[in-house]
């Protein structure tokens, strides 16, 4: 039976070797800012549509990565529940903390 098991191993190795990819990403964003400055006079209404399309493609690929990973799919019992509980509480905590900061900032701005 042809398995895709090497996937998870190669993905992990890929993530470790991600430093280089991260640098490429930052180079891309700086290049983009320069190009955007140069094209300032031209309207670019299509931009947000292209951005959205790429986000769709990336999420589709992320879905493939997750669906094909037996560790994640098989782990949706006890492990998945624990992960969900920690995720839910820690994310809720960060939402409340940042909301507090947002309210403090808004109040100080209203006073001015």
């Amino acid at each position: 039976m042809p398995t895709n098991c090497c996937n998870c191993a190669s993905t992990r190795a890929g993530h470790i070797a991600n430093e280089e990819a991260v640098i490429k990403v930052y180079v891309a964003i700086v290049l983009g800012i320069v190009v955007g400055r140069l094209l300032r006079k031209r309207p670019m209404l299509f931009l947000s549509r292209v951005v959205m399309a790429i986000i769709w493609a990336l999420l589709f690929i992320l879905g493939i990565e997750i669906g094909a990973n037996p560790e994640i799919v098989g782990g949706f019992g006890k492990i998945g529940t624990s992960a969900f509980v920690i995720f839910a509480f820690s994310t809720l905590g960060s939402i409340l903390a940042s909301w507090l900061l947002w309210r403090v900032i808004r109040k100080s701005e209203q006073r001015q």
Binding site: N4, V35, I54, A83, I86
Partner: protein, 200 residues
């Protein structure tokens, strides 16, 4: 709302395709996603550079937003500590190690698998993948309910790269700088935090 539904559908379709082995997640898919990410960042850069009002808007930002990474970290760790009453199998240092991944799932799961075993490592992977996916899917809802800072905060360490485009689209481009600052700072902190809580 329509945007979130379409995003969810693409993600769900990907999961099904991956699970059904209709398309392998191989070297090519990995390369494709890396190039797409670079292209995405390039376009985000273009829209930032293209925005003539951006500098003026940046000056209007309250300097207190610098505190946001601290709030994100405090809220995340505080919230996760509450779970030790629900999850009897795990200690406080276990849940703190998992949550201090801040969405940076690849790195935190590798560290935790190494130091605390595969089970907690898998929990870290799942928990932090959930955080990233939640940010991608629910950013508009969080924006409406809790404002732009919360949109950045939920992204954790990912706000300088993978979740930056969605943050720029929902919170507005003037918050992109806050998101990059927030993401970079937390990104650097994750290895230190995770190892710290693993050694406790």
């Amino acid at each position: 709302m329509k945007g979130s539904i379409i995003i969810t559908l693409f993600f769900a379709a990907g999961c099904l395709v991956g699970y059904g082995e209709l398309m392998p997640f191989d070297h090519m898919a990995e390369q494709a996603s890396k190039w797409l990410l670079c292209g995405l960042m390039f376009l985000v850069g273009v829209s930032l550079g293209h925005d003539e009002n951006l500098l003026g808007q940046l000056r209007k930002l309250n300097p207190r937003v610098i505190l946001l990474p601290v709030m994100t970290l405090a809220g995340t760790l505080g919230g996760s500590l509450a779970t030790i009453f629900l999850l009897s199998d795990y200690s406080a240092s276990d849940v703190l190690a998992v949550s201090s991944g801040l969405g940076y799932y690849s790195l935190s799961s590798i560290f935790i698998s190494e130091f605390k075993g595969l089970e907690l490592g898998t929990i870290a992977l799942l928990c932090n993948v959930m955080r990233e996916i939640f940010t991608l899917l629910f950013a508009p809802l969080v924006m409406r309910m809790f404002g732009p800072l919360a949109v950045i905060s939920i992204g954790g360490a990912t706000t300088a790269d993978t979740t930056l485009p969605i943050i720029t689209q929902t919170a507005g481009s003037r918050y992109a700088v806050v998101a990059v600052f927030h993401g970079c700072l937390l990104d650097f902190s994750v290895p230190f935090l995770v190892t710290l809580f693993c050694s406790l």
